[in-house]
Protein backbone atom coordinates (compact mmCIF):
# COMPACT_ATOMS: atom_id res chain seq x y z
CA UNK A 1 0.00 0.00 0.00
CA UNK A 2 0.93 3.56 -0.24
CA UNK A 3 1.62 6.30 2.16
CA UNK A 4 0.89 9.71 0.81
CA UNK A 5 3.14 11.21 3.42
CA UNK A 6 1.59 13.15 6.23
CA UNK A 7 0.38 12.64 9.73
CA UNK A 8 2.55 9.71 10.52
CA UNK A 9 5.65 11.81 10.52
CA UNK A 10 4.22 14.42 12.84
CA UNK A 11 5.87 13.26 15.98
CA UNK A 12 8.21 10.67 14.72
CA UNK A 13 9.93 12.89 12.22
CA UNK A 14 12.56 15.54 12.47
CA UNK A 15 12.06 18.09 15.19
CA UNK A 16 12.36 21.71 14.45
CA UNK A 17 15.37 23.51 15.68
CA UNK A 18 15.85 27.21 15.84
CA UNK A 19 18.77 28.51 13.88
CA UNK A 20 19.24 32.02 15.12
CA UNK A 21 18.94 33.20 18.65
CA UNK A 22 20.62 36.49 18.22
CA UNK A 23 18.79 39.72 17.54
CA UNK A 24 16.26 41.63 19.64
CA UNK A 25 14.35 39.77 22.26
CA UNK A 26 11.08 40.12 24.09
CA UNK A 27 10.11 39.60 27.71
CA UNK A 28 6.91 39.34 29.65
CA UNK A 29 7.29 42.86 30.96
CA UNK A 30 8.22 44.36 27.65
CA UNK A 31 5.22 42.73 26.00
CA UNK A 32 2.86 43.52 28.86
CA UNK A 33 1.17 40.15 28.93
CA UNK A 34 -0.72 38.68 31.84
CA UNK A 35 1.36 36.09 33.64
CA UNK A 36 -0.37 32.77 33.86
CA UNK A 37 0.72 29.36 35.00
CA UNK A 38 1.67 27.49 31.84
CA UNK A 39 0.31 24.17 33.04
CA UNK A 40 -3.09 25.76 33.72
CA UNK A 41 -3.07 27.84 30.58
CA UNK A 42 -5.56 27.48 27.72
CA UNK A 43 -3.83 27.60 24.40
CA UNK A 44 -5.83 28.74 21.38
CA UNK A 45 -4.60 27.59 18.00
CA UNK A 46 -5.88 29.28 14.88
CA UNK A 47 -5.08 27.26 11.76
CA UNK A 48 -5.31 29.05 8.43
CA UNK A 49 -6.13 26.37 5.90
CA UNK A 50 -8.05 23.12 5.96
CA UNK A 51 -6.04 20.10 7.03
CA UNK A 52 -6.04 18.86 3.48
CA UNK A 53 -2.36 18.69 2.68
CA UNK A 54 0.60 17.13 4.45
CA UNK A 55 1.93 20.44 5.70
CA UNK A 56 -1.28 21.51 7.44
CA UNK A 57 -2.08 18.07 8.70
CA UNK A 58 1.34 17.70 10.24
CA UNK A 59 1.32 21.20 11.65
CA UNK A 60 -2.01 20.81 13.44
CA UNK A 61 -1.13 17.32 14.56
CA UNK A 62 2.20 18.45 15.95
CA UNK A 63 0.61 21.17 18.03
CA UNK A 64 -2.17 18.89 19.23
CA UNK A 65 0.31 16.20 20.22
CA UNK A 66 2.60 18.58 22.02
CA UNK A 67 -0.26 20.17 23.97
CA UNK A 68 -1.33 16.71 25.05
CA UNK A 69 2.21 15.84 26.02
CA UNK A 70 2.51 18.99 28.10
CA UNK A 71 -0.92 18.46 29.58
CA UNK A 72 -2.27 21.88 28.63
CA UNK A 73 -5.73 22.57 27.32
CA UNK A 74 -5.90 23.35 23.61
CA UNK A 75 -8.72 25.02 21.63
CA UNK A 76 -8.47 24.73 17.86
CA UNK A 77 -10.17 26.58 15.07
CA UNK A 78 -9.65 26.45 11.34
CA UNK A 79 -10.31 29.40 9.07
CA UNK A 80 -10.59 27.33 5.90
CA UNK A 81 -8.61 29.86 3.88
CA UNK A 82 -10.97 32.67 4.80
CA UNK A 83 -9.25 35.68 6.33
CA UNK A 84 -12.38 37.11 7.84
CA UNK A 85 -13.04 33.73 9.39
CA UNK A 86 -9.58 33.70 10.92
CA UNK A 87 -10.23 37.02 12.58
CA UNK A 88 -13.43 35.74 14.12
CA UNK A 89 -11.67 32.50 15.00
CA UNK A 90 -9.06 34.36 17.02
CA UNK A 91 -11.70 36.51 18.66
CA UNK A 92 -13.74 33.40 19.36
CA UNK A 93 -10.76 31.66 20.94
CA UNK A 94 -10.24 34.69 23.15
CA UNK A 95 -13.91 34.67 24.08
CA UNK A 96 -13.64 31.01 24.98
CA UNK A 97 -10.91 31.86 27.41
CA UNK A 98 -7.66 31.22 25.57
CA UNK A 99 -4.83 32.97 27.36
CA UNK A 100 -2.07 31.96 24.98
CA UNK A 101 -2.43 32.04 21.22
CA UNK A 102 -0.65 30.21 18.45
CA UNK A 103 -1.64 31.57 15.07
CA UNK A 104 -0.78 30.26 11.64
CA UNK A 105 -1.68 33.39 9.66
CA UNK A 106 -3.54 32.94 6.38
CA UNK A 107 -1.91 36.04 5.00
CA UNK A 108 0.98 38.23 5.94
CA UNK A 109 -1.35 41.19 6.20
CA UNK A 110 -4.81 41.73 7.53
CA UNK A 111 -4.81 40.16 10.98
CA UNK A 112 -4.63 43.53 12.65
CA UNK A 113 -8.13 43.44 14.20
CA UNK A 114 -7.47 40.00 15.64
CA UNK A 115 -4.10 40.98 17.04
CA UNK A 116 -5.70 44.01 18.59
CA UNK A 117 -8.29 41.82 20.25
CA UNK A 118 -5.52 39.70 21.74
CA UNK A 119 -3.61 42.78 22.80
CA UNK A 120 -6.72 44.12 24.55
CA UNK A 121 -6.89 40.92 26.56
CA UNK A 122 -3.15 40.94 27.15
CA UNK A 123 -2.82 37.54 25.51
CA UNK A 124 0.55 36.79 23.90
CA UNK A 125 0.45 35.61 20.28
CA UNK A 126 3.02 33.37 18.69
CA UNK A 127 2.73 33.33 14.92
CA UNK A 128 3.99 30.31 13.09
CA UNK A 129 4.90 29.38 9.53
CA UNK A 130 4.02 32.69 7.92
CA UNK A 131 5.49 35.99 9.03
CA UNK A 132 3.29 39.03 9.44
CA UNK A 133 5.04 41.61 7.39
CA UNK A 134 3.91 44.93 8.74
CA UNK A 135 3.08 44.01 12.33
CA UNK A 136 5.76 44.60 14.96
CA UNK A 137 7.05 41.72 17.11
CA UNK A 138 6.90 42.17 20.87
CA UNK A 139 4.17 44.71 20.28
CA UNK A 140 1.48 43.41 17.95
CA UNK A 141 2.55 39.84 18.52
CA UNK A 142 5.15 38.10 20.58
CA UNK A 143 7.36 36.37 18.08
CA UNK A 144 7.40 34.52 14.81
CA UNK A 145 8.54 30.95 14.48
CA UNK A 146 9.02 29.68 11.00
CA UNK A 147 10.98 29.32 7.88
CA UNK A 148 12.27 32.09 5.74
CA UNK A 149 10.45 31.62 2.43
CA UNK A 150 12.84 33.89 0.58
CA UNK A 151 15.71 31.82 1.83
CA UNK A 152 13.91 28.66 0.70
CA UNK A 153 13.67 30.01 -2.82
CA UNK A 154 17.31 30.96 -2.70
CA UNK A 155 18.35 27.54 -1.49
CA UNK A 156 16.37 25.90 -4.26
CA UNK A 157 18.16 28.13 -6.74
CA UNK A 158 21.49 27.18 -5.23
CA UNK A 159 20.64 23.50 -5.60
CA UNK A 160 19.61 24.08 -9.18
CA UNK A 161 22.73 25.97 -10.12
CA UNK A 162 24.87 23.29 -8.55
CA UNK A 163 23.05 20.42 -10.22
CA UNK A 164 23.03 22.03 -13.65
CA UNK A 165 26.50 23.47 -13.51
CA UNK A 166 25.09 26.92 -13.96
CA UNK A 167 23.47 26.49 -17.35
CA UNK A 168 19.80 25.71 -17.63
CA UNK A 169 16.53 26.79 -19.12
CA UNK A 170 14.14 26.72 -16.24
CA UNK A 171 10.38 26.95 -15.93
CA UNK A 172 8.89 28.07 -12.64
CA UNK A 173 5.66 26.55 -11.35
CA UNK A 174 4.33 29.34 -9.20
CA UNK A 175 2.13 28.78 -6.18
CA UNK A 176 -1.30 30.28 -5.78
CA UNK A 177 -1.42 33.85 -7.05
CA UNK A 178 -1.59 36.54 -4.41
CA UNK A 179 -0.14 34.26 -1.77
CA UNK A 180 2.98 35.66 -0.17
CA UNK A 181 4.58 32.24 0.08
CA UNK A 182 4.51 32.30 -3.69
CA UNK A 183 5.93 35.79 -3.84
CA UNK A 184 8.78 35.03 -1.46
CA UNK A 185 9.74 31.69 -2.93
CA UNK A 186 9.78 33.34 -6.36
CA UNK A 187 11.80 36.38 -5.43
CA UNK A 188 14.31 34.35 -3.42
CA UNK A 189 14.78 32.08 -6.41
CA UNK A 190 14.96 34.63 -9.20
CA UNK A 191 17.03 37.16 -7.25
CA UNK A 192 19.64 34.54 -6.56
CA UNK A 193 19.78 33.53 -10.20
CA UNK A 194 20.07 37.11 -11.36
CA UNK A 195 22.96 37.76 -9.05
CA UNK A 196 24.80 34.49 -9.34
CA UNK A 197 23.91 32.51 -12.41
CA UNK A 198 23.88 34.29 -15.71
CA UNK A 199 23.70 30.94 -17.47
CA UNK A 200 20.35 30.03 -16.00
CA UNK A 201 17.49 31.44 -17.98
CA UNK A 202 13.90 31.52 -16.74
CA UNK A 203 11.77 30.77 -19.80
CA UNK A 204 8.33 30.67 -18.21
CA UNK A 205 6.56 31.38 -14.95
CA UNK A 206 3.07 29.96 -14.73
CA UNK A 207 0.91 29.30 -11.74
CA UNK A 208 0.19 25.72 -10.71
CA UNK A 209 -1.93 26.81 -7.75
CA UNK A 210 0.05 24.57 -5.39
CA UNK A 211 -1.88 21.57 -6.73
CA UNK A 212 -0.63 18.43 -8.38
CA UNK A 213 -3.21 18.55 -11.12
CA UNK A 214 -2.39 22.10 -12.21
CA UNK A 215 1.31 21.40 -11.83
CA UNK A 216 0.95 18.52 -14.24
CA UNK A 217 -1.19 20.22 -16.85
CA UNK A 218 0.81 23.44 -16.87
CA UNK A 219 4.03 21.50 -17.23
CA UNK A 220 2.57 19.58 -20.17
CA UNK A 221 1.79 22.84 -21.92
CA UNK A 222 5.16 24.39 -21.13
CA UNK A 223 7.12 21.37 -22.32
CA UNK A 224 5.47 21.66 -25.69
CA UNK A 225 5.90 25.39 -25.99
CA UNK A 226 9.50 25.21 -24.80
CA UNK A 227 10.95 21.84 -25.76
CA UNK A 228 14.33 23.14 -24.62
CA UNK A 229 13.43 23.34 -20.93
CA UNK A 230 16.07 21.57 -18.86
CA UNK A 231 14.90 22.30 -15.34
CA UNK A 232 11.77 22.96 -13.38
CA UNK A 233 11.44 24.77 -10.12
CA UNK A 234 8.17 24.00 -8.38
CA UNK A 235 7.22 26.14 -5.43
CA UNK A 236 5.76 23.19 -3.60
CA UNK A 237 6.06 19.45 -3.64
CA UNK A 238 2.63 18.71 -5.07
CA UNK A 239 3.38 20.67 -8.22
CA UNK A 240 6.77 19.00 -8.47
CA UNK A 241 5.11 15.59 -8.44
CA UNK A 242 2.67 16.76 -11.08
CA UNK A 243 5.59 17.97 -13.16
CA UNK A 244 7.28 14.58 -12.86
CA UNK A 245 4.19 12.87 -14.25
CA UNK A 246 4.04 15.39 -17.08
CA UNK A 247 7.70 14.93 -17.95
CA UNK A 248 7.22 11.19 -18.03
CA UNK A 249 4.22 11.67 -20.24
CA UNK A 250 6.26 13.75 -22.66
CA UNK A 251 8.64 10.84 -23.02
CA UNK A 252 11.49 12.48 -21.16
CA UNK A 253 13.21 11.39 -18.00
CA UNK A 254 12.52 13.52 -14.96
CA UNK A 255 15.64 14.06 -12.92
CA UNK A 256 17.87 13.50 -15.91
CA UNK A 257 16.54 15.16 -19.07
CA UNK A 258 14.73 17.70 -17.02
CA UNK A 259 15.84 18.36 -13.50
CA UNK A 260 13.21 19.09 -10.89
CA UNK A 261 13.59 21.17 -7.75
CA UNK A 262 11.03 21.91 -5.16
CA UNK A 263 10.25 23.22 -1.69
CA UNK A 264 8.40 21.45 1.13
CA UNK A 265 10.25 18.28 2.04
CA UNK A 266 7.31 15.91 1.99
CA UNK A 267 8.02 12.23 2.00
CA UNK A 268 6.76 11.61 -1.55
CA UNK A 269 9.25 14.04 -2.99
CA UNK A 270 12.15 12.88 -0.87
CA UNK A 271 11.32 9.40 -2.10
CA UNK A 272 11.31 10.88 -5.60
CA UNK A 273 14.86 12.05 -5.03
CA UNK A 274 15.81 8.57 -3.90
CA UNK A 275 14.29 7.25 -7.12
CA UNK A 276 16.23 9.76 -9.15
CA UNK A 277 13.21 11.59 -10.55
CA UNK A 278 13.66 14.73 -8.52
CA UNK A 279 16.90 16.49 -7.94
CA UNK A 280 16.47 18.66 -4.89
CA UNK A 281 13.98 19.66 -2.24
CA UNK A 282 14.19 22.32 0.42
CA UNK A 283 12.34 21.49 3.57
CA UNK A 284 9.69 23.66 5.09
CA UNK A 285 9.25 21.99 8.43
CA UNK A 286 5.68 21.96 9.75
CA UNK A 287 6.33 20.41 13.15
CA UNK A 288 5.83 23.56 15.12
CA UNK A 289 4.34 22.05 18.29
CA UNK A 290 7.38 21.57 20.53
CA UNK A 291 9.10 24.80 19.56
CA UNK A 292 5.95 26.92 19.78
CA UNK A 293 4.91 25.60 23.15
CA UNK A 294 8.37 25.71 24.66
CA UNK A 295 8.69 29.29 23.46
CA UNK A 296 5.45 30.21 25.21
CA UNK A 297 6.52 28.37 28.33
CA UNK A 298 9.88 30.13 28.40
CA UNK A 299 8.15 33.42 27.86
CA UNK A 300 5.83 32.86 30.82
CA UNK A 301 8.79 31.78 32.86
CA UNK A 302 10.18 35.24 32.30
CA UNK A 303 12.88 34.34 29.82
CA UNK A 304 13.74 36.67 26.97
CA UNK A 305 12.41 35.37 23.70
CA UNK A 306 13.96 36.21 20.31
CA UNK A 307 11.61 38.33 18.24
CA UNK A 308 12.11 36.10 15.25
CA UNK A 309 12.81 32.42 15.53
CA UNK A 310 13.85 31.11 12.18
CA UNK A 311 13.83 27.38 12.06
CA UNK A 312 16.51 25.38 10.46
CA UNK A 313 15.09 23.67 7.43
CA UNK A 314 16.77 20.69 5.96
CA UNK A 315 17.69 20.29 2.36
CA UNK A 316 17.34 17.04 0.49
CA UNK A 317 19.35 15.94 -2.49
CA UNK A 318 20.58 12.71 -3.94
CA UNK A 319 23.33 12.57 -1.35
CA UNK A 320 21.12 12.47 1.76
CA UNK A 321 17.63 11.60 0.57
CA UNK A 322 17.87 7.87 1.07
CA UNK A 323 19.01 8.30 4.61
CA UNK A 324 16.52 11.00 5.50
CA UNK A 325 13.38 9.78 3.79
CA UNK A 326 12.15 8.18 6.99
CA UNK A 327 12.03 11.46 8.85
CA UNK A 328 10.32 13.44 6.11
CA UNK A 329 6.68 14.27 6.75
Amino acid sequence: ENNGGGGSGATGGGQQTASNSSGPTCTLDAYGATKVDFSKAVIGFSQSEAEANPFRITETQSITDEAQKQGVQLLKRNANSNLSQQISDIQGLLAQGANLLVVAPLNSEGLEPALKAARDKKVPVVTIDRKLSSATPCKDYLTFIGSDFVAQGKRAATQLVKATNGTAKVAILLGATGNNVTTDRTSGFTDYLKANAAGVQVVAQQTGDFTREKGQSVTEQLLQAHPDITAIYAENDEMALGAVTAINGAGKKPGTDIKVFSVDGTRNVVQGIVNGQINGDVESNPRFGPLALSTLKDFLDGKAIPQTITIQDKEYDSANAAAQVGSAY
Partner: protein, 307 residues
Amino acid sequence: MIVRLQRQGALVVLVILLALGGLLFRTFLTTYTLGNLAVQASFLAMIALGMTLVIISGGIDLSVGSVYALSGVLAAYGSTRWGLAGALILPLLVSGVIGLIQGTLIARLRMAPFIVTLCGLLFARGLLQLITSEGSTTYLVPPGSAFRWLGDGTVLVVIAVIAYLVGGVVLQRTPFGMRLFAVGGNEDAASLMGLPVARTKISVYVVSGLLAGCAGVMSAAQLGSGVTVIGVGLELNAIAAVVIGGTMLTGGSGAVSGTLAGVALLFVIQELINQLGRFNSNMQNVVSGAVLVVVVVLQTLLSRARR
Protein backbone atom coordinates in the same frame (compact mmCIF):
# COMPACT_ATOMS: atom_id res chain seq x y z
CA MET B 1 -48.94 36.37 13.12
CA ILE B 2 -48.11 32.90 11.90
CA VAL B 3 -47.90 34.19 8.37
CA ARG B 4 -45.49 36.85 9.55
CA LEU B 5 -43.33 34.27 11.22
CA GLN B 6 -43.32 32.09 8.16
CA ARG B 7 -42.13 34.92 6.06
CA GLN B 8 -39.33 35.38 8.57
CA GLY B 9 -38.27 31.74 8.61
CA ALA B 10 -34.62 32.72 8.86
CA LEU B 11 -35.32 34.95 11.83
CA VAL B 12 -37.13 32.17 13.65
CA VAL B 13 -34.29 29.72 13.08
CA LEU B 14 -31.84 32.42 14.12
CA VAL B 15 -33.59 33.03 17.42
CA ILE B 16 -33.77 29.31 18.11
CA LEU B 17 -30.07 28.87 17.41
CA LEU B 18 -29.15 31.86 19.55
CA ALA B 19 -31.15 30.45 22.43
CA LEU B 20 -29.59 27.03 21.92
CA GLY B 21 -26.11 28.54 21.79
CA GLY B 22 -26.80 30.47 24.97
CA LEU B 23 -27.88 27.31 26.75
CA LEU B 24 -24.95 25.24 25.55
CA PHE B 25 -22.08 27.67 25.85
CA ARG B 26 -21.38 30.17 28.57
CA THR B 27 -19.24 32.21 26.18
CA PHE B 28 -21.82 32.45 23.42
CA LEU B 29 -24.49 34.98 24.32
CA THR B 30 -21.98 37.61 25.39
CA THR B 31 -21.65 41.07 23.96
CA TYR B 32 -18.04 40.23 23.21
CA THR B 33 -18.81 37.23 21.04
CA LEU B 34 -21.92 38.64 19.41
CA GLY B 35 -20.26 42.01 18.90
CA ASN B 36 -17.31 40.42 17.15
CA LEU B 37 -19.64 38.35 15.00
CA ALA B 38 -21.58 41.46 14.06
CA VAL B 39 -18.41 43.23 12.98
CA GLN B 40 -17.24 40.29 10.90
CA ALA B 41 -20.70 39.87 9.42
CA SER B 42 -20.93 43.49 8.36
CA PHE B 43 -18.96 42.92 5.14
CA LEU B 44 -21.03 40.01 3.97
CA ALA B 45 -24.12 41.93 5.03
CA MET B 46 -23.27 44.80 2.69
CA ILE B 47 -22.61 42.43 -0.19
CA ALA B 48 -25.72 40.38 0.46
CA LEU B 49 -27.80 43.56 0.48
CA GLY B 50 -26.73 44.31 -3.07
CA MET B 51 -27.24 40.68 -4.00
CA THR B 52 -30.78 40.83 -2.65
CA LEU B 53 -31.64 43.74 -4.89
CA VAL B 54 -30.06 42.07 -7.90
CA ILE B 55 -31.87 38.81 -7.25
CA ILE B 56 -35.19 40.56 -6.76
CA SER B 57 -34.69 42.14 -10.16
CA GLY B 58 -34.35 38.65 -11.58
CA GLY B 59 -30.57 38.63 -11.98
CA ILE B 60 -27.54 37.42 -10.10
CA ASP B 61 -24.15 38.98 -9.38
CA LEU B 62 -21.22 36.61 -9.09
CA SER B 63 -18.63 39.36 -9.27
CA VAL B 64 -19.12 40.70 -5.76
CA GLY B 65 -16.38 38.69 -4.06
CA SER B 66 -13.75 39.85 -6.52
CA VAL B 67 -15.01 43.41 -6.55
CA TYR B 68 -14.87 43.37 -2.77
CA ALA B 69 -11.23 42.30 -2.78
CA LEU B 70 -10.33 44.70 -5.57
CA SER B 71 -11.91 47.64 -3.75
CA GLY B 72 -10.07 46.75 -0.59
CA VAL B 73 -6.77 46.92 -2.43
CA LEU B 74 -7.76 50.12 -4.21
CA ALA B 75 -8.83 51.69 -0.93
CA ALA B 76 -5.48 50.90 0.65
CA TYR B 77 -3.70 52.18 -2.42
CA GLY B 78 -5.87 55.29 -2.48
CA SER B 79 -5.16 55.98 1.15
CA THR B 80 -1.42 55.86 0.54
CA ARG B 81 -1.67 58.28 -2.36
CA TRP B 82 -4.50 60.65 -1.60
CA GLY B 83 -5.50 59.97 1.99
CA LEU B 84 -9.09 59.52 3.09
CA ALA B 85 -10.64 60.90 -0.09
CA GLY B 86 -8.61 58.57 -2.25
CA ALA B 87 -9.44 55.64 -0.04
CA LEU B 88 -13.13 56.28 -0.54
CA ILE B 89 -13.46 57.62 -4.05
CA LEU B 90 -11.09 55.40 -6.01
CA PRO B 91 -12.58 52.02 -5.02
CA LEU B 92 -16.16 53.19 -5.20
CA LEU B 93 -15.55 54.68 -8.61
CA VAL B 94 -14.01 51.48 -9.93
CA SER B 95 -16.60 49.17 -8.42
CA GLY B 96 -19.38 51.42 -9.65
CA VAL B 97 -17.94 51.33 -13.16
CA ILE B 98 -17.63 47.54 -13.06
CA GLY B 99 -21.29 47.39 -12.03
CA LEU B 100 -22.17 49.81 -14.79
CA ILE B 101 -20.42 47.74 -17.45
CA GLN B 102 -21.99 44.53 -16.21
CA GLY B 103 -25.41 46.12 -16.02
CA THR B 104 -25.08 47.51 -19.51
CA LEU B 105 -24.07 44.17 -20.97
CA ILE B 106 -26.98 42.51 -19.22
CA ALA B 107 -29.65 45.11 -19.84
CA ARG B 108 -28.74 46.52 -23.21
CA LEU B 109 -27.07 43.59 -24.90
CA ARG B 110 -29.30 41.05 -23.15
CA MET B 111 -26.55 38.76 -22.04
CA ALA B 112 -27.16 36.27 -19.25
CA PRO B 113 -26.36 37.80 -15.85
CA PHE B 114 -24.72 34.60 -14.67
CA ILE B 115 -22.14 34.70 -17.44
CA VAL B 116 -21.58 38.43 -17.47
CA THR B 117 -20.91 38.56 -13.76
CA LEU B 118 -18.81 35.41 -13.95
CA CYS B 119 -16.64 37.32 -16.37
CA GLY B 120 -16.74 40.22 -13.93
CA LEU B 121 -15.50 37.87 -11.23
CA LEU B 122 -12.52 36.83 -13.34
CA PHE B 123 -11.84 40.31 -14.58
CA ALA B 124 -11.86 42.02 -11.20
CA ARG B 125 -9.62 39.33 -9.73
CA GLY B 126 -7.24 39.71 -12.67
CA LEU B 127 -7.20 43.46 -12.31
CA LEU B 128 -6.45 43.11 -8.63
CA GLN B 129 -3.51 40.87 -9.39
CA LEU B 130 -2.31 43.22 -12.07
CA ILE B 131 -2.18 46.24 -9.77
CA THR B 132 -0.49 44.27 -7.02
CA SER B 133 2.11 42.81 -9.38
CA GLU B 134 0.64 39.32 -9.21
CA GLY B 135 -0.18 39.69 -5.54
CA SER B 136 3.32 40.52 -4.44
CA THR B 137 2.73 44.15 -3.54
CA THR B 138 0.68 44.97 -0.49
CA TYR B 139 -0.55 48.48 0.03
CA LEU B 140 -0.67 49.49 3.68
CA VAL B 141 -3.00 52.12 5.01
CA PRO B 142 -0.71 54.73 6.60
CA PRO B 143 -0.88 54.28 10.39
CA GLY B 144 -2.10 57.77 11.17
CA SER B 145 -4.62 57.92 8.35
CA ALA B 146 -8.10 59.20 9.13
CA PHE B 147 -9.30 56.29 7.03
CA ARG B 148 -8.46 53.89 9.85
CA TRP B 149 -11.21 55.38 11.97
CA LEU B 150 -13.68 53.84 9.57
CA GLY B 151 -12.37 50.41 10.47
CA ASP B 152 -13.56 50.62 14.04
CA GLY B 153 -15.97 47.77 14.77
CA THR B 154 -18.84 49.96 15.87
CA VAL B 155 -18.53 52.17 12.81
CA LEU B 156 -18.62 49.13 10.53
CA VAL B 157 -21.75 47.76 12.15
CA VAL B 158 -23.42 51.16 12.07
CA ILE B 159 -22.66 51.51 8.35
CA ALA B 160 -24.20 48.12 7.66
CA VAL B 161 -27.28 48.89 9.73
CA ILE B 162 -27.80 52.20 7.95
CA ALA B 163 -27.35 50.49 4.61
CA TYR B 164 -30.09 48.02 5.50
CA LEU B 165 -32.46 50.73 6.70
CA VAL B 166 -31.94 52.69 3.51
CA GLY B 167 -32.14 49.53 1.46
CA GLY B 168 -35.39 48.52 3.11
CA VAL B 169 -37.00 51.89 2.50
CA VAL B 170 -35.80 52.06 -1.09
CA LEU B 171 -37.07 48.58 -1.80
CA GLN B 172 -40.44 48.85 -0.10
CA ARG B 173 -41.33 52.49 -0.35
CA THR B 174 -39.91 53.98 -3.53
CA PRO B 175 -40.82 53.67 -7.19
CA PHE B 176 -37.33 52.31 -7.82
CA GLY B 177 -38.07 49.46 -5.44
CA MET B 178 -41.38 48.76 -7.16
CA ARG B 179 -39.59 48.72 -10.49
CA LEU B 180 -37.18 46.10 -9.18
CA PHE B 181 -40.05 43.86 -8.16
CA ALA B 182 -41.79 44.44 -11.46
CA VAL B 183 -38.73 43.74 -13.58
CA GLY B 184 -37.99 40.61 -11.59
CA GLY B 185 -41.60 39.50 -11.57
CA ASN B 186 -42.21 39.80 -15.29
CA GLU B 187 -39.67 41.65 -17.34
CA ASP B 188 -41.70 41.73 -20.55
CA ALA B 189 -44.73 43.07 -18.75
CA ALA B 190 -42.64 45.69 -16.99
CA SER B 191 -41.32 46.82 -20.32
CA LEU B 192 -44.79 46.90 -21.90
CA MET B 193 -46.05 48.85 -18.92
CA GLY B 194 -43.57 51.51 -19.89
CA LEU B 195 -41.11 51.01 -17.07
CA PRO B 196 -37.49 51.87 -17.84
CA VAL B 197 -36.39 48.26 -17.60
CA ALA B 198 -32.86 48.66 -18.90
CA ARG B 199 -32.15 51.63 -16.68
CA THR B 200 -33.49 49.79 -13.66
CA LYS B 201 -31.37 46.76 -14.33
CA ILE B 202 -28.26 48.79 -14.90
CA SER B 203 -28.84 50.70 -11.68
CA VAL B 204 -29.21 47.56 -9.67
CA TYR B 205 -25.86 46.20 -10.84
CA VAL B 206 -24.25 49.55 -10.13
CA VAL B 207 -25.73 49.49 -6.64
CA SER B 208 -24.52 45.94 -6.12
CA GLY B 209 -21.06 46.91 -7.33
CA LEU B 210 -21.03 49.94 -5.06
CA LEU B 211 -22.11 47.94 -2.04
CA ALA B 212 -19.43 45.34 -2.71
CA GLY B 213 -16.99 48.20 -3.18
CA CYS B 214 -18.15 49.72 0.07
CA ALA B 215 -17.58 46.41 1.84
CA GLY B 216 -14.08 46.33 0.36
CA VAL B 217 -13.38 49.83 1.62
CA MET B 218 -14.64 48.86 5.05
CA SER B 219 -12.43 45.81 5.10
CA ALA B 220 -9.35 47.77 4.07
CA ALA B 221 -10.04 50.21 6.88
CA GLN B 222 -10.44 47.38 9.35
CA LEU B 223 -7.50 45.29 8.19
CA GLY B 224 -5.21 48.25 7.68
CA SER B 225 -4.10 46.99 4.30
CA GLY B 226 -5.30 45.86 0.93
CA VAL B 227 -5.39 42.11 1.31
CA THR B 228 -5.46 40.29 -2.00
CA VAL B 229 -6.67 36.90 -0.85
CA ILE B 230 -10.07 37.89 0.55
CA GLY B 231 -13.48 37.47 -1.00
CA VAL B 232 -12.96 34.15 -2.78
CA GLY B 233 -16.30 32.36 -2.93
CA LEU B 234 -18.00 35.18 -1.08
CA GLU B 235 -20.63 35.48 -3.81
CA LEU B 236 -21.90 32.04 -2.92
CA ASN B 237 -22.18 32.94 0.74
CA ALA B 238 -24.09 36.04 -0.23
CA ILE B 239 -26.46 34.07 -2.43
CA ALA B 240 -26.96 31.55 0.35
CA ALA B 241 -27.78 34.33 2.80
CA VAL B 242 -30.25 35.88 0.41
CA VAL B 243 -32.01 32.59 -0.24
CA ILE B 244 -32.07 31.61 3.41
CA GLY B 245 -33.60 35.02 3.98
CA GLY B 246 -36.55 33.97 1.87
CA THR B 247 -35.84 35.78 -1.39
CA MET B 248 -36.64 33.67 -4.43
CA LEU B 249 -33.89 33.34 -7.02
CA THR B 250 -36.56 33.56 -9.68
CA GLY B 251 -36.93 37.22 -8.89
CA GLY B 252 -39.88 39.41 -8.16
CA SER B 253 -40.10 38.86 -4.44
CA GLY B 254 -37.97 39.23 -1.37
CA ALA B 255 -36.98 41.50 1.45
CA VAL B 256 -33.75 42.86 2.86
CA SER B 257 -34.74 42.05 6.44
CA GLY B 258 -34.71 38.37 5.59
CA THR B 259 -31.26 38.71 4.07
CA LEU B 260 -29.95 40.31 7.23
CA ALA B 261 -31.30 37.40 9.21
CA GLY B 262 -29.77 35.05 6.66
CA VAL B 263 -26.33 36.62 7.04
CA ALA B 264 -26.59 36.49 10.82
CA LEU B 265 -27.66 32.87 10.59
CA LEU B 266 -24.60 31.88 8.56
CA PHE B 267 -22.26 33.45 11.10
CA VAL B 268 -24.08 32.06 14.11
CA ILE B 269 -24.05 28.56 12.65
CA GLN B 270 -20.33 28.82 11.98
CA GLU B 271 -19.65 30.07 15.48
CA LEU B 272 -21.74 27.32 17.02
CA ILE B 273 -19.87 24.70 15.04
CA ASN B 274 -16.64 26.29 16.18
CA GLN B 275 -17.65 26.43 19.81
CA LEU B 276 -18.65 22.80 19.68
CA GLY B 277 -15.02 22.36 18.69
CA ARG B 278 -15.68 18.76 17.93
CA PHE B 279 -14.94 18.70 14.24
CA ASN B 280 -11.77 19.04 12.27
CA SER B 281 -11.81 21.42 9.36
CA ASN B 282 -13.03 18.80 6.89
CA MET B 283 -15.84 17.59 9.08
CA GLN B 284 -16.78 21.21 9.69
CA ASN B 285 -17.51 21.64 6.03
CA VAL B 286 -19.64 18.53 5.98
CA VAL B 287 -21.62 19.88 8.91
CA SER B 288 -21.93 23.33 7.30
CA GLY B 289 -23.27 21.76 4.13
CA ALA B 290 -25.73 19.63 6.05
CA VAL B 291 -26.94 22.58 8.10
CA LEU B 292 -27.34 24.59 4.92
CA VAL B 293 -29.54 21.85 3.49
CA VAL B 294 -31.69 21.75 6.59
CA VAL B 295 -32.09 25.50 6.80
CA VAL B 296 -32.87 25.93 3.12
CA VAL B 297 -35.34 23.07 3.07
CA LEU B 298 -37.05 24.44 6.16
CA GLN B 299 -37.19 27.87 4.62
CA THR B 300 -38.58 26.51 1.37
CA LEU B 301 -41.20 24.39 3.05
CA LEU B 302 -42.25 27.27 5.27
CA SER B 303 -42.66 29.61 2.36
CA ARG B 304 -44.52 26.97 0.42
CA ALA B 305 -46.96 26.43 3.27
CA ARG B 306 -47.71 30.11 3.02
CA ARG B 307 -49.12 29.78 -0.46
